[in-house]
């Protein structure tokens, strides 16, 4: 009888203990899931917020760059084209008819020369805004033209080679790629102190690649990412925002031999 009673007590204890343990486990599991998910969601939201902030930085950089471009354009027109045209006007004033024939010819000739200068200046401004070679003959010609000009100065050996450029890309794509190349080459010329810069182009069915090599001081990907997140690095931010438009990628790396830097631009071809 006593034995039976002890056995019953053990069963009851096991039942109560087991039930409480199972309930504790179930509650623990549910609470863990809730807290874990909250933590993950909070982390994801922080990431999203950071991405949004990065977008704002990029947008501001683009606006600032546009503003700088406008100011440069205004300064070029005001400081160069303005005085030239004003001088030409001086030569061609009302008093010209009262002057003798030879002085008249001299004034007209000077005015003509000044107007030619003004035309050239405006042409240069226009070309800097939109290179005619790029518009008429495509990216390969525009980059070759740019590299010939750089190489022609004699301070750096600049070469370029396009391997898979049988068909032109969309005009908008070419413009953006050209601007990115211009910005990168500008940076290389300003900061890297390289003795050479070489650009190659490759492509496959879906993707388009531009590789730039130089032997000066350069950036690696971590530097690029750091600079695009900082308040400086306007040009790099602009490259990033341009690439975003093309859904492209850029990779800054140092060659294994440690002798040169490599920049790879990868783009998805438009259908």
């Amino acid at each position: 009888m006593i034995l039976l009673q002890v056995r019953d007590d053990n069963v009851v204890t096991a039942l109560l203990g087991g039930t409480f343990a199972m309930l504790a486990l179930a509650i623990g599991l549910v609470v863990f899931i809730i807290f874990h998910q909250r933590r993950v969601i909070r982390y994801q939201m922080t990431l999203q917020k950071m991405e949004e902030e990065q977008q704002v930085i990029l947008l501001n950089a683009t606006i600032k760059l546009q503003e700088e471009e406008r100011q440069r354009l205004a300064a070029d027109l005001h400081d160069d084209a303005g005085p030239l045209l004003a001088t030409a006007r001086l030569y061609l004033n009302e008093n010209l008819v009262n002057l003798d024939k030879s002085t008249q010819l001299q004034h007209v000739s000077s005015a003509k020369s000044i107007i030619d200068d003004a035309i050239q200046l405006i042409r240069n401004i226009s070309h800097s805004l939109m290179p005619p070679t790029l518009k008429n003959f495509g990216l390969e010609s525009a980059v070759t033209d740019l590299f010939q000009k750089i190489g022609g100065a004699g301070t750096i050996n600049a070469t370029c080679r396009f391997h898979d450029y049988d068909m032109r890309l969309e005009m908008e794509q070419e413009q953006i790629i050209f601007r990115i190349i211009q910005e990168l080459i500008n940076n290389i010329l300003k900061h890297s102190n390289s003795s050479f810069v070489h650009i190659t182009q490759n492509a496959n069915e879906e993707r388009f690649f531009i590789h730039i090599h130089h032997d000066g001081m350069g950036l690696v990907q971590a530097d690029f990412e750091k600079l695009t997140k900082s308040s400086g690095g306007l040009g790099l931010k602009n490259i990033q925002s341009r690439l975003k438009v093309l859904n492209g990628k850029i990779l800054f790396e140092k060659d294994d031999s440690d002798t040169y830097y490599k920049i790879t631009i990868e783009l998805v071809k438009a259908e």
């Binding site: 069963v11 087991g18 039930t19 199972m22 599991l29 549910v30 809730i34 874990h36 939201m45």
Partner: protein, 202 residues
């Protein structure tokens, strides 16, 4: 009450799996009425045994269907599909080779273990989902939690029921009743939740 509440908010609960849970509640209610009021006293142990067995079978079928619908991993769905016929075979074997027509503790244990495992699989999936909707904002979470609590609270009762005296079994059957109440409260919360579209993280 819960049946009426479901019918009141039925416009929020159009998914088949939620309707399956509703039918489970109706069946559960009908079984309780049958066992406690209609065949009380005049019933034999055999009739009660078969009603309990039918309820266990129906409960497992509904829960398996529900988990098969909510689990998204192919392998987890496969587990549910494999476990279901295995459970049916065990249940049939247990009924055929039974000597005494007591409460079918073995089948109930197997059911509890399977369904608790499915609940764990569901929560495991939730840990890896790239969604930013809080898990407790979904109907499925409340239904699974309700099933998990109910079976966790009763599994030891089912396991040890064959060792309990009739008096103790009656005494501790209140655990089953209480977990049933909690289960129904959680079901009500699930039914009351609005049907939401899930926002995915990019």
């Amino acid at each position: 009450m819960l049946i009426l509440f479901f019918l009141y908010v039925r416009s929020r609960n159009k998914e088949k799996r939620i309707w399956a849970i509703f039918f489970y509640i109706v069946f559960s209610f009908a079984t309780d009425i049958l066992l406690n009021f209609i065949i009380r006293g005049q019933s034999t142990r055999i009739v009660r045994f078969f009603i309990f067995s039918a309820f266990t079978f129906f409960e497992y079928s509904i829960f398996s269907y529900f988990f098969h619908e909510i689990l998204t991993t192919r392998n987890f769905k496969r587990i549910v599909r494999i476990f279901y016929p295995a459970f049916i075979l065990v249940a049939i074997y247990s009924i055929i080779y039974r000597k005494e027509y007591n409460f079918d503790s073995f089948t109930a244990q197997i059911e509890s273990i399977h369904i608790i495992l499915f609940s764990v699989l569901f929560f495991y999936e939730q840990l890896n989902k790239p969604e930013i909707t809080f898990v407790y904002a979904t109907k499925d979470f409340w239904i699974v939690t309700s099933i998990l609590f109910y079976l966790s609270a009763t599994i030891f009762l089912f396991i040890l029921s064959i060792y309990l005296t009739k008096r103790d079994l009656q005494r501790f059957w209140s655990v089953n009743d209480m977990s049933n109440i909690i289960k129904n409260i959680f079901f009500a919360i699930a039914f009351a939740k609005p049907a939401k579209t899930v926002k995915r993280l990019v």
